[in-house]
């Protein structure tokens, strides 16, 4: 089978950026037979440590391989980093998904957005370990690409980035949860879901299927602590009555409900037990939650 031609041609000596890997240099383009098919491979060496990567030319576009950014593009990145952007999503799940997408796509703008977004978030509270690692990876990729694009050392590239993120003579500002809360509220208005959502469950509970709840509970075990902290606005709402049922996070509630049409509520509110367990404090184990949603054989026998 013949290879289809790639959208942009790569030659030996070209510098490219492999998403999540960093800057590479093409050192060979040759044809090999793999499983009876003749494929053209682009071999490249990662500049950081010399690791070799081989990519079939047909996959070059789909994996997001791209040429090194130009000076103009790097200049735009500095402008973006300098801007007074305080967009930081407090919904950890949404944030994680967006950041992973940005990293996978591998664009320079995406890397800058991850770095900027997490830096702004860290002004509210320390980042959890996974996000701290993500921040470090994104910063590493950003620094190495800026250094390669501008032909400067990594030390100069990182200092150039930090000069705009943390200008000399200034401390990074401390932020409050209220500043961030304004963003999701605005989004909710745009979606025009606010009124409908409140009428769905009646008491604001999550109405997910049991499987989804169990998965979410498992995923949120590590994150629950950090998500519960910025909840003061929710405390204000708790004065109205039911604080213990709203620990899943307002952002989470929004995402969960936006998936479903408004006609669904009648069916779903019939699972109050599972919903309560899904919103239990972080100390609870996910197994308990699953077993609560599905009664064990022993308990069903006792009922008989």
């Amino acid at each position: 089978m013949a290879d289809s031609a790639p959208q942009f041609s790569l030659a030996v000596g070209d510098r490219v950026v492999y998403p999540n890997q960093g800057v590479c240099r093409v050192f060979n383009v040759d044809t090999k037979e793999v499983a009876g098919q003749r494929l053209t491979f682009i071999s490249m060496r990662r500049e950081e440590d010399g690791a070799v990567v081989m990519v079939p030319t047909t996959k070059v576009q789909s994996i997001g391989l791209r040429r090194l950014s130009t000076r103009d593009e790097v200049g735009k990145i500095f402008t973006f980093l300098k801007s007074e952007s305080d967009k930081a999503d407090l919904d950890w799940k949404q944030r994680a998904r967006t950041n992973v997408d940005r990293m996978t796509q591998g664009g320079l703008q995406g890397l800058a957005e991850v770095v900027k977004g997490l830096q702004v978030l860290s002004e509210l509270r320390p980042l959890p370990t996974k996000e701290r690692e993500l921040y470090d990876n994104a910063r590493h990729l950003l620094v190495s690409e800026v250094a390669a694009s501008l032909s400067i050392s990594e030390c100069d590239a990182e200092d150039a980035i930090d000069l705009v993120l943390s200008p000399p003579g200034k401390e990074r500002p401390k932020r409050t949860a209220e500043e961030f809360k304004q963003i999701p509220a605005a989004e909710e208005e745009e979606l025009e879901l606010g009124g409908d959502i409140l009428s769905l469950g009646g008491d604001g509970e999550l109405d997910l299927p049991a499987e989804e709840e169990a998965e979410e509970a498992e995923a949120s075990e590590g994150e629950a602590d950090e998500e519960e902290q910025p909840a003061p606005p929710r405390g204000a709402r708790a004065k109205g009555g039911k604080p213990q049922k709203e620990t899943a996070g307002s952002g989470e509630k929004r995402t969960a409900k936006s998936k479903k049409p408004p006609s669904a509520p009648g069916k779903r509110t019939a699972k109050p037990r599972a919903a309560k367990h899904a919103t239990a404090p972080a100390g609870g184990k996910s197994k308990r939650k699953v077993s609560a949603a599905r009664p064990s054989k022993a308990s069903s026998r006792r009922k008989k």
């Binding site: 790097v74 500095f78 997490l118 921040y135 930090d162 401390e171």
Partner: protein, 170 residues
């Protein structure tokens, strides 16, 4: 092993105290490796980039890290996004770092600042990037609070440096 190389005459006891701070932070041996002259023609203040490239090497093993100390002022670097105040310089992931002790009159008081800057630049040699925690030595060094902090790493940077050192040993 971290080897501290000086360009002027420093009190050996001061260097020993600095070495102790570095040993505490990284958990690898640290010792003084003597004195080397500064390369000629670097101007005043010194150009950190040229200095680190042209400075005379000292005898060391492949995985040793060299920390050059100079009492001279370093020239601020002109970068694409502005002018960076320069108190040190490092070759990321390589073996050389430079720290200026310019402005430190009294080592009793200034040691903490020098140790913090040294930790910062040596951290870059083990692939550490700037940190978000103001207490960590990898925080951007031109912030007002940097000089007042202790010569310590945050838990993330400490673990990462330990991991890098373990990898280098193996």
């Amino acid at each position: 092993m971290i080897r501290v190389v000086t360009s002027e005459g420093y009190d050996p006891q001061e260097i020993q105290r600095l070495c102790r701070s570095l040993y505490t932070a990284f958990g690898v041996g640290c010792e003084s490796a003597g004195q080397v002259p500064l390369p000629a023609g670097l101007g005043d203040p010194l150009d950190a980039r040229k200095l680190i490239e042209q400075v005379q090497p000292v005898r060391a093993y492949a995985d040793d890290k060299l920390l050059y100390l100079t009492g001279k002022k370093l020239k601020d670097r002109e970068l694409p996004s502005g002018t960076a105040p320069t108190l040190g310089y490092a070759l990321y992931g390589k073996d050389r770092a430079l720290v200026s002790t310019h402005g430190v009159k009294n080592w009793e008081e200034g040691l903490r600042r020098v140790a913090r800057h040294s930790l910062h630049q040596l951290g870059h040699l083990w692939d550490l990037y700037h940190c978000l925690d103001p207490r960590c030595s990898m925080y951007p060094p031109w912030t007002p609070s940097f000089a007042n902090g202790d010569a310590i790493f945050c838990s993330f940077c400490r673990e990462k440096s330990e991991q890098k050192i373990r990898l280098a040993k193996s």
